[in-house]
């Protein structure tokens, strides 16, 4: 063992309160130390040169560098010893500046402490093994899960950068929730006018493969090389043949709910969601189809001019290899009908959700853009909006802000006035949250220009009376009860994670919170990463957000993927956990605590199952090392014996 110890004086930063010559002298007596010297500025060029020279002349195999914080210069000195011909991890830095000379004015105290720390460093580096990361090849392809605006944006950004992208959408068309919106706040752009061109671009992009009616079935592998099975659900329509002529939908005798219109209209068992759907391909819903329910019909098959109907079609597994995954599964609206008994639990047809109202406002909606209330088709005069349904409401277990309700309610109030000039909108709200650019101005316009009446307070009860809905609430500012005879009540329902988000998270091994929103890698510094390398988040799947924030995050995720996939291979950190196969008892407590899913089961010849660390996933936290009773999984560079030796040496 040939250890060199270098004690930096850092000018007088260290030397003023630590007698570096005494530290050098003490270091010389430590086991295995064959070289020790003090250098005025070790990080300077001549300083680094001195280290390199000593390594080469004295054939050093390990170096202890006593100086500033390793957080400052560890990389500098790792590179230096590497230039000297050593493995960079055979360097140990001990902090005798921030943790010693700068905080202890007494030179004896400081010197003694510095010697302790050097001894600790020597003991630790004695037990250090050379480390090198492995490289894993990167598959230059990305998977985007979810075809809403987030998925579309991320897919297009990546595809434009030359990356082959597969976009998987659960429903029959991309576009997501944004495609169902009429206008967007605060500019009142037509939602589909800005979105549909992007949807078409996806369809036509050479680098994008679009798979609709499909979900992720299984995910294997890790950053750089995921293998994903995608299940394409049978729709009884041969996608390649369907021309989107919609004759089948026209002739189909089976009625079915209109999901695109949030249940506001009626559709057919075979249908295309909406005229701008991408891809423009019909799909058949077996549960509503006479052919399947009654066993005879076959109308669509007969009328289809393209011969695109295949009743025998089965689910199909499409497998793909990807270097990275962007999750953009968006949101669903909170289902209020189960938890607001005083609002009728969905029994009053004229109490509707904001998305249903959005469809009533939309020119492509079931009413062609004429606002007519569901019960009798009458045009409402008095419209009551109630904010914060299923959000900011502890009583239904959803304390978080939906972050868009205030704004879209203002928008809908404005649109109501535009559609029905003599109407009056009332908005029950808790607080008006309008923090975005132009948002506050917008919500004020709803009041000042469009006459919406804002009432601060909750609605206690809604009940029908003579063709009207009586809305009873409290105006907490005025301190009085309010009763409004409404023609239509619109609930500003909050945003929840998309159905099945938790299940998808488990497949991808990413974490999610109690509401199944996915957890970002770091709340501040890694907003689009997850704790699983190579899996990124875009849009409302990470938490409620509006369109601009969604698009920004989607582009950010795309940028991360582009950066990742621009490398041919990935170098993994060498400070990862490793398993001693001979001693592993296969209890998998390591796997239980690993936040990154970096531990997998390995079957040894002979049948014994042991833990195996996937280097590219391991982040080196060391949780597994502590969870493993015999420490057969241990964190390289921070082994038990290294830490034990440090403890023993500082206490000597």
């Amino acid at each position: 063992m040939r250890i060199g110890v270098f004690v930096c004086q850092c000018g007088t930063n260290i030397a003023a309160t630590v007698a570096t010559d005494r530290v050098v002298e003490a270091a010389r007596a430590m086991l295995g130390v064959i070289h020790a010297e003090s250098i005025q500025y070790t990080c300077s060029d001549p300083g680094q040169r001195a280290i390199i020279d000593a390594i080469q002349q004295k054939d050093l195999t390990r170096v202890v560098m006593a100086g500033c914080s390793p957080r400052m210069h560890e990389t500098t000195f790792r590179r230096a010893v590497q230039r000297g011909g050593m493995n960079p991890f055979m360097l140990e830095m001990v902090n005798i500046r921030e943790h010693c000379s700068w905080i202890h004015p007494d030179i004896d105290q400081g010197t003694l402490k510095a010697i302790d720390l050097v001894r600790k460093g020597v003991a630790r580096v004695r037990r250090q093994a050379p480390l090198s990361g492995s490289t894993v090849p990167v598959t230059r392809a990305a998977l985007v899960i979810g075809g809403g605006v987030a998925g579309i944006q991320a897919a297009l950004d990546m595809a434009d950068a030359g990356i082959p992208v597969t976009l998987v959408e659960k429903g029959p068309t991309i576009g997501g929730n944004m495609a169902r919106l009429d206008k967007t706040f605060p500019t009142l752009d037509c939602s589909s006018c800005i979105l549909t061109p992007r949807m078409v671009e996806v369809k036509n992009h050479d680098n994008i493969k679009l798979i609709v009616n499909a979900e992720v079935d299984q995910v294997r592998g890790h950053i750089g090389s995921f293998e994903v099975d995608i299940r394409r659900k049978a729709t009884c329509v041969i996608e390649q043949k369907c021309t989107g002529c919609m004759i089948c939908q026209e002739k189909c005798p089976s009625r079915a709910p209109d999901e695109f219109n949030a249940g506001m209209g009626e559709s057919k068992a075979i249908s295309i969601a909406f005229p701008q759907a991408v891809p423009l391909v019909a799909g058949l819903r077996k549960e509503h189809c006479r052919q399947f329910v009654k066993g005879r019909c076959g109308v669509c098959q007969k009328v289809c001019p393209a011969d695109a109907i295949d009743y025998e079609q089965e689910d199909e597994i499409v497998s793909g290899a990807f270097g990275a995954v962007v999750v953009a599964t968006g949101y669903d609206l909170y289902d209020w009908t189960g938890s607001y008994p005083t609002y009728g639990m969905g029994r009053y047809p004229d109490v509707i959700t904001s998305m249903q109202y959005e469809r009533l406002l939309s020119a492509s909606g079931p009413t062609g853009g004429h606002v007519r209330r569901p019960s009798d088709g009458a045009e409402p005069q008095q419209v009551v909006f109630i904010s914060c349904i299923g959000s900011r409401d502890e009583s239904v277990g959803r304390p978080q802000c939906c972050s868009v309700g205030c704004m879209y309610t203002a928008k809908q109030a404005i649109l109501t006035k535009e559609h029905i000039p003599d109407s009056q909108s009332y908005i029950f709200y808790i607080d008006i949250r309008a923090a975005g650019k132009g948002y506050d101005e917008f919500s004020r316009r709803a009041q000042t220009e469009f006459g919406a009446l804002y009432i601060r307070g909750r609605v206690g009860k809604i009940y029908p009376r003579g063709g009207k809905l009586i809305v009873m609430g409290t105006d907490t500012l005025a301190g009085e009860q309010v009763e409004i005879e409404a023609d239509l009540v619109v609930l500003a329902t909050g945003l929840t994670a998309a159905r099945g988000a938790g299940e998808l998270a488990r497949k991808l091994n990413i974490s999610y919170d109690g509401y199944e929103f996915f957890t970002e890698g770091h709340p501040k510094l890694k907003p689009v990463e997850t704790n699983t390398g190579g899996v990124f988040l875009a849009g409302a799947c990470q938490g409620p957000k509006d369109i601009p924030a969604t698009v920004a995050q989607a582009s950010a995720a795309a940028a991360k993927v582009i950066g990742l996939l621009s490398r041919g291979e990935l170098e993994t950190s060498p400070v990862v956990a490793a398993v001693d196969r001979n001693r592993c008892v296969g209890c998998f407590k390591c796997r239980d605590v690993c936040p990154y899913g970096a531990v997998e089961q390995e079957q040894l010849p002979g049948g014994r199952a042991v833990a195996h660390v996937i280097d590219s996933l391991c982040q080196g936290c060391g949780l597994c090392n502590v969870a493993c009773p015999p420490s057969t999984i241990s964190l390289k560079g921070y082994t038990d014996n290294q830490l034990i030796a440090e403890v023993v040496e500082v206490l000597r």
């Binding site: 010389r28 007596a29 430590m30 086991l31 004695r126 023993v648």
Partner: protein, 355 residues
């Protein structure tokens, strides 16, 4: 015969202590669940003369852990050097008296002597063992009763065995008859704490007898009968209790005890052939991976190899391994079954060429 009254015993032991000897005797240990151990005795301590001690008295000649030497790395003018300082026997190096050993315990010392004091050239003459053994006086308590774990009668004279004892005390009314079997023992019996007596020696216990004839060869003959050994050890948990409690087991481990990186000691410590790690090689290979393999070696060592090499059976029938086994394993049952088992063919090369 000489006689010592029961209340004379503490006086005898105190006299020995005054003469500079450390005295050990079986005592119930405070704050334990009725554990009897040979423990240092001083005046006023109660001695347990009924129940058997959980551990034998072998620790007085083979301590559970002892230093072999100390090492130091020192920086000298010629660079780093190693200094090695051999340790003396340390514990129990002077006069030591063990009171209340049983015939089986005393005999065991002689069995160990066969290995540790063997003549130079044949094997090894252990300096620490020799020093301690030379300073050890064994005062044996003869057994007039026994329990069902005892089977010393299978080995020589059984309860009447005198080998290894300096002085044997035979319980009689009011005290003990004393008989010396060595110069040291006769010297003690002559002390004025003892008086002459014409009482008869009491009848000694009759312990169970285990048939041992032919076992030395039989254990070799059924060596390859792993089914037998697996069956015999199905309850064994592979702890080291039986080996540590055994008065004749003597295998040890050698390891370094560091005091920081520069200084340390090399120690030897009791080791148990029942541990997996005992024969584990650094390559991961283990010639005795299963409990069955290890127990087979343990039986072989006691009843076949040691008799072949040293002329002594490595067991005196004290029954400690039976009384204290947490899993209720009874060595006698295994040996009986071994005796009844038909021989199987085999040999070292067989396994090697098959593996």
């Amino acid at each position: 015969m000489r006689f010592i009254a029961s209340d004379g015993l503490p006086r005898l032991l105190e006299r020995l202590r005054e003469d500079g000897a450390e005295v050990w005797a079986p005592r119930v240990v405070r704050d334990t669940l009725n554990t009897v151990l040979f423990s240092p005795w001083s005046e006023g301590d109660e001695i347990e003369t009924g129940a058997y001690s959980t551990l034998s008295a072998k620790q007085l000649v083979l301590p559970a852990t002892e230093r072999l030497f100390a090492y130091r790395y020192r920086l000298t003018a010629e660079g780093e050097k190693i200094e090695i300082e051999a340790a003396g026997p340390g514990m129990h190096a002077g006069e030591t008296v063990v009171f209340g050993a049983r015939a089986c315990d005393a005999k065991a010392l002689g069995v160990l002597d066969a290995l540790f004091l063997s003549t130079p050239g044949q094997s090894y003459n252990d300096p620490h063992y020799r020093t301690r053994r030379a300073g050890l006086t064994v005062i044996t308590l003869a057994c007039t009763t026994c329990d069902s774990a005892c089977f010393c009668s299978s080995f020589g004279a059984g309860p009447a065995e005198t080998a290894g004892s300096d002085l044997i005390l035979y319980p009689v009314g009011g005290g003990y008859l004393a008989e010396g079997f060595s110069d040291r023992g006769r010297e003690l019996a002559a002390l004025d704490i003892f008086e002459d007596s014409s009482q008869e020696k009491p009848a000694l216990a009759e312990t169970a007898v285990l048939e041992l004839a032919g076992l030395e060869q039989k254990l070799l003959d059924i060596f390859d009968d792993l089914d037998f050994w697996r069956g015999a050890t199905e309850q064994c948990l592979s702890c080291g209790y039986c080996t540590y409690a055994c008065p004749t087991c003597h295998c040890f481990n050698i390891f370094d005890e560091m005091q920081g990186d520069r200084d340390g000691e090399r120690c030897r410590s009791w080791d148990a052939c029942m541990f997996y790690t005992y024969t584990l090689e650094t390559s991961g290979h283990n010639p005795r991976p299963e409990i069955a393999h290890r127990y087979r070696n343990r039986m072989g060592h006691k009843f076949s190899y040691y008799p072949a090499n040293q002329g002594e059976i490595l067991c005196t029938g004290c029954g400690r391994c039976i009384r204290g086994c947490p899993a209720g394993v009874d060595i006698r049952e295994v040996l009986k079954a071994a005796a009844a088992r038909p021989a199987t063919p085999g040999g070292a090369l067989q396994q090697e060429t098959e593996s």
